[in-house]
């Protein structure tokens, strides 16, 4: 048979078509060379803008925490708790609080949370409280609690100065300690306890403001009935920020604790400023005069938008009839529940809270959320949809271990779904199919918000609560109204990792990406690139795949073509394993190449120990799985919603210095 001319032509065409598409960047690049400098500037500018918006504005508090984390780590390192010998045994925890159920109904809710947390985590909790508000007595109770040498202690830090010594005594014994309800976090309090569980006041004001501004408005007012109270000032500041972002005028209006006088002040102010249409009050003591004012002026829900902090029967009634858009709840239940859980995780698995402050509020009580929770004993089913699973990535074994551990402890039926290989589209289909099962809740990894949007919204429309874990950017940035995202700030991880590596010196940084198309991983590379650029180093992204043998070859060939590449960051075990293989293949040592990686695995830990790998960026996958199940459990059974759009679980850097603590737990919990 002769080679048909047409075939030749066709193959030629095929090659040409291929070349034409692929050549495109070359041509354009050449033409653009003149403008390159301008382009770069623009990009940097745009990126800065986006970053500023993203981090500083939306998650201001998170950014602050990220900065502080290094400091905290130092403190926490001193106070790293002793891990109990048997994670399955019943733990003994003592809770010391400055008030109790017997004299304030608020505390009944806190204690209910503690009891539920104890039950869900297989913990015995003893609650100690003075007969009346008494700082000194409380401090003595702490001392007595330490003397009992429980597995962990939780307490309310009403006075950091007085409590510092007794708490330090507990820390010195290796007893993990958290603060709840009252406190300012380990940094501000100057005591190395793990975290403080309470409301994030700034976020409450900010997120409340966002909700109110969502439908437009001309002027927002923060009605402050306790001028000078720092917590309330933060609320107003957050609200102001939301107003400013939405381009709405803002003013703060001080009232006092006399309801009738305050109502008059409000009326006068409104007469002078008839353009005010968004009002936020700081609690029942501000809301009560506000309702009186509305009544006086004959205003209805059509005239103004009202939101408030905290809750009361009157507020609830007004939420029900639509006058008040929401009440911001600091979720006392979660303060108790979260305190027990954090301690249990720390004592059993060495899982530490990600930030100095763990927000329990703001939780938004709206007309939609006023339904009754299912109750502690209600049977519950969660479907988890992941883009990866334990059968193909060690990292995911830890996530799944977290989720199944939580599900077992909380008596939840957990079904995990994952595609065969990284496949955004197949994952989206799995979400849709999971919704059809009508479980009580769904947890999922948002690898691509655009693709998943419809599927997740179908779940929300069906009344199924959804949280994201491991992959996602939070409901605000993803533009999907799921409850919260539990994970690390990927950009910050890549950026900080890049800074650490660049500090060791080098020529060219390479981001080895084994999951192209994964938005979270793309952010890691982007953060790393930013760090490289700032350090004046070259940067390139190298795409590999999930076949380790082939990936090792690809990295090797790349290295051979680019011998100046000397800084490598890998995106997890999926690219670290081929990377180590590549080093072995090429006979390279830690003197030739600087390497850092995301995530941990036994092999990564071994390489951190031997100095080949500088660090593993730990996002605490166990906490992602455990926390997601716990958050859904709280939402469905107890009506407690996650406080923040992003619930951070990392980044924390595991280096040769703190490796020993982590290494014992690697592969299962870390």
């Amino acid at each position: 048979m002769k080679l048909n001319k047409k075939i030749t032509l066709m193959i030629g065409l095929l090659v040409l078509a291929f070349a034409a598409v692929a050549c495109e960047p070359q041509i354009v690049e050449v033409e653009k060379e003149v403008q390159v400098t301008v382009e770069v500037e623009k990009i940097v500018e745009v990126e800065k803008e986006v970053e500023v918006e993203k981090i500083v504005e939306v998650e201001k508090e998170v950014e602050v925490e990220v900065e502080k984390i290094v400091e905290v780590e130092k403190i926490v390192e001193v106070a790293v708790p002793v891990i109990v010998d048997d994670p399955n045994r019943t733990l003994d925890i003592i809770a010391v609080q400055h008030a109790e159920c017997a004299w304030d109904s608020f505390w009944c809710t806190v204690q209910a949370g503690i009891q539920q947390g104890a039950q869900d985590n297989n913990v015995n909790v003893t609650i100690l409280a003075p007969d009346s508000f008494d700082v000194d007595k409380t401090a003595s109770l702490i001392e007595q609690a330490v003397a009992a040498q429980p597995d962990a202690i939780m307490l309310t830090v009403t006075d950091a100065t007085v409590f510092k010594e007794p708490i330090q005594a507990a820390l010195d014994l290796g007893i993990p300690v958290v603060a709840y309800n009252a406190g300012s976090g380990p940094i501000e309090d100057g005591i190395g306890y793990l975290t403080y569980l309470g409301q994030d006041e700034y976020a409450g004001g900010y997120l409340g403001g966002q909700r109110m501004a969502a439908n437009g408005g001309s002027k927002g007012v923060c009605v402050n009935h306790v001028p000078g109270h720092t917590g309330v000032a933060k609320r107003c500041a957050g609200f102001e920020q939301a107003m400013t972002e939405a381009g709405i005028a803002y003013e703060e209006l001080a009232i006092n604790d006399d309801p009738s006088e305050s109502a008059t002040i409000l009326g006068d102010y409104y007469a002078a400023n008839p353009d005010v249409d968004l009002w936020i009050t700081m609690g029942p003591n501000g809301a009560v005069p506000f309702y009186a004012f509305m009544n006086n002026e004959g205003l209805t829900k059509d005239d103004i938008v009202h939101g408030t902090f905290d809750n009361s029967p009157e507020i609830t009634a007004n939420i029900e009839n639509g006058t008040t858009m929401f009440g911001i709840d600091q979720q006392p239940f979660l303060q108790g529940y979260g305190g027990v859980t954090s301690l249990a995780l720390a004592a059993r698995y060495g899982i530490l809270p990600a930030g100095p402050v763990t927000a329990t509020g703001p939780g938004f009580i709206t007309a939609d959320s006023l339904g009754d929770p299912a109750g502690a004993d209600a049977p519950m089913k969660i479907i988890a949809v992941q883009h990866a699973e334990c059968a193909w990535d060690a990292f995911w074994c830890v996530v799944q271990n977290g989720a199944t551990t939580a599900a077992e402890r909380m008596d939840i039926d957990l079904q995990i779904l994952a595609p065969d290989s990284f496949d955004v589209d197949a994952t989206a289909s799995l979400i849709e199919q999971a919704v059809a099962a009508q479980p009580d809740a769904i947890m999922l990894t948002v690898t691509d918000a655009v693709v998943f949007k419809d599927a997740i919204e179908s779940a929300l429309n069906a009344g199924i609560p959804v949280v994201a874990y491991n992959a996602g950017a939070g409901p605000v940035e993803d533009g999907i109204a799921y409850s919260t995202y539990l994970g690390q700030d990927e950009y910050a991880g890549g950026y900080q990792g890049g800074q650490r590596l660049a500090a060791l010196g080098g020529t060219k940084g390479v981001c080895v990406n084994h999951a192209p198309g994964h938005t979270g991983v793309a952010k890691r590379c982007a953060g790393f690139e930013q760090a490289m650029t700032e350090a004046g180093l070259d940067y390139e992204e190298l795409v590999t795949n999930d076949d380790p043998a082939e990936s090792a070859t690809i990295i090797g060939d790349y290295y051979n073509a680019n011998p100046d590449a000397d800084i490598f960051i890998t995106m997890g075990p999926g690219s670290a394993v081929p990377f180590y293989q590549f080093m072995d293949n090429e006979g390279l040592t830690k003197d030739d190449i600087v390497h850092g990686t995301f995530d941990l695995s036994p092999e990564i830990s071994a390489n951190i120990a031997s100095g080949v790998t500088q660090f593993g960026i730990d996002q605490q996958p166990f906490l992602q799985g455990y926390g997601a199940v716990q958050a859904l459990n709280l939402m469905v059974r107890h009506g407690v919603v996650p406080a923040l759009p992003v619930t951070p679980t990392g980044p924390g850097f595991v280096t040769v210095d703190n490796l020993t603590v982590v290494q014992a737990l690697a592969g299962e919990f870390r």
Binding site: M10, A22, I383, I416, E432, Q438, P516, T519
Partner: protein
């Protein structure tokens, strides 16, 4: 032996059933439907049923093309890649328009034009398949294995090219603008169905497109000369050629149709999940073959129906949804499909062995 001259009723029934290639898949479908109705919670809910049909419909659109191709005795392993290329063409034109040498030739957002161009490009890829198979005589399995990789390369290159550059995120093209009305036509919600129950169903326009494709294909295969040519080409190519059937033309057209339908499926999918990545559609070629084979189409060609393939695809999707609802680990879905595949083929073979 008496039974030799007067076959039993059982044998008669079997012989009669053998005339309908879709009988095995239909019976399996009904049986599994009943089993899932009894064992899987919420299986009979509107949401679950519409989910099955919608998800099956998107893949079903190109399964019909593959079915026609298999009836004519050929494979197309490149459908998944063609689907990705089609979706990329559509996505890039929608998001970025067409830029050549710095000049904006087409502005972004021309939805209808983008659709037409996506279909043309994917049909052209089908044409390339057809020409290689027909002109070189390479078995279509190998030829399309080659083009599967090559077309995937085109999709990847398109994602990497300057045409598609989005902010730093390699390869993925997302549509960020306001969705044009065409998206609703392509894969919008079918609210008149979805509102029938609580929670609302998940029916989409893909179902309508699937039905249209099936109806047109059934008409073509049953009532037109082209249809009988397709069967003849697959049944006995030499004989068909001898009877004046232009078998080569039939094959090329079938490849073109398959390519175009793959492109359509890609675009329809994009209309509801408006992002495209280079891995899109990987492995779907084998799903399509499995659906066709379960649906009673012979691997060697010449036998089988469009309806069978369509039911085959629905069955696969139903099993996946059903197992998820029954709380079975998804990985066992794979095994179940393998089992169904083998059992279906054995039953089909047994039936046709009269």
């Amino acid at each position: 032996m008496a039974s030799a001259t007067s076959p039993s009723n059982f044998q008669k029934t079997r012989a009669r059933l053998a005339n309908y290639s879709e009988v095995v898949v239909l019976i399996s479908f009904i049986l599994l439907f009943i089993i899932f109705s009894l064992t899987a919670d919420n299986f009979l809910s509107l949401l679950s049923l519409t989910n099955i049909v919608t998800l099956a419909a998107i893949k079903g659109i190109f399964v019909i093309g593959v079915a026609m191709l298999m009836i004519s005795g050929e494979f197309d392993l490149s459908v998944g890649s063609t689907l990705a290329v089609g979706a990329y063409v559509f996505a890039i034109l929608m998001e970025h328009g067409f830029v050549l040498g710095g000049t904006q030739i087409l502005p972004p957002g021309l939805a209808f034009l983008a659709l037409i161009l996506a279909l043309i490009v994917s049909a052209l890829l089908g044409l390339i398949n057809g020409l290689i198979v027909v002109r070189s005589g390479i078995p279509s399995f190998i030829a399309t294995l080659g083009t599967m990789l090559a077309f995937r390369g085109i999709a990847r290159a398109m994602g990497n090219s300057e045409l598609a550059k989005t902010s730093g995120n390699a390869d993925v093209v997302r549509f960020t603008g306001e969705a044009p009305p065409l998206f609703n036509v392509l894969n919008g919600d079918l609210n008149f169905i979805n509102d029938l129950g609580t929670p609302a169903g998940g029916a989409r326009m893909a179902i309508i497109w699937f039905v249209i494709v099936v109806v047109v294909a059934v008409i073509v295969m049953r009532f037109t000369r082209y249809g009988s040519w397709v069967y003849a080409t697959g049944g006995n190519r030499m004989a068909a050629l001898a009877q004046g059937v232009r078998t080569n033309r039939v094959l090329i057209w079938n490849f073109v149709i398959t390519g175009a339908l793959a492109g359509l499926a890609g675009v329809v999918q994009f209309a509801s999940r408006p992002a495209i990545d280079p891995a899109r559609g990987e492995g779907w070629e084998l799903i399509a073959v499995a659906a066709c084979v379960i649906g009673g189409i012979w691997l060697q060609g010449g036998y089988g129906t469009i309806i069978g393939a369509a039911i085959g695809m629905l069955l696969l999707q139903m099993v996946e949804q059903g197992l998820i609802l029954a709380g079975v680990d998804i990985q066992l879905f794979q095994a179940t499909i393998g089992l169904i595949l083998i059992v279906a083929v054995i039953s089909n073979t047994w039936l046709s062995r009269t």
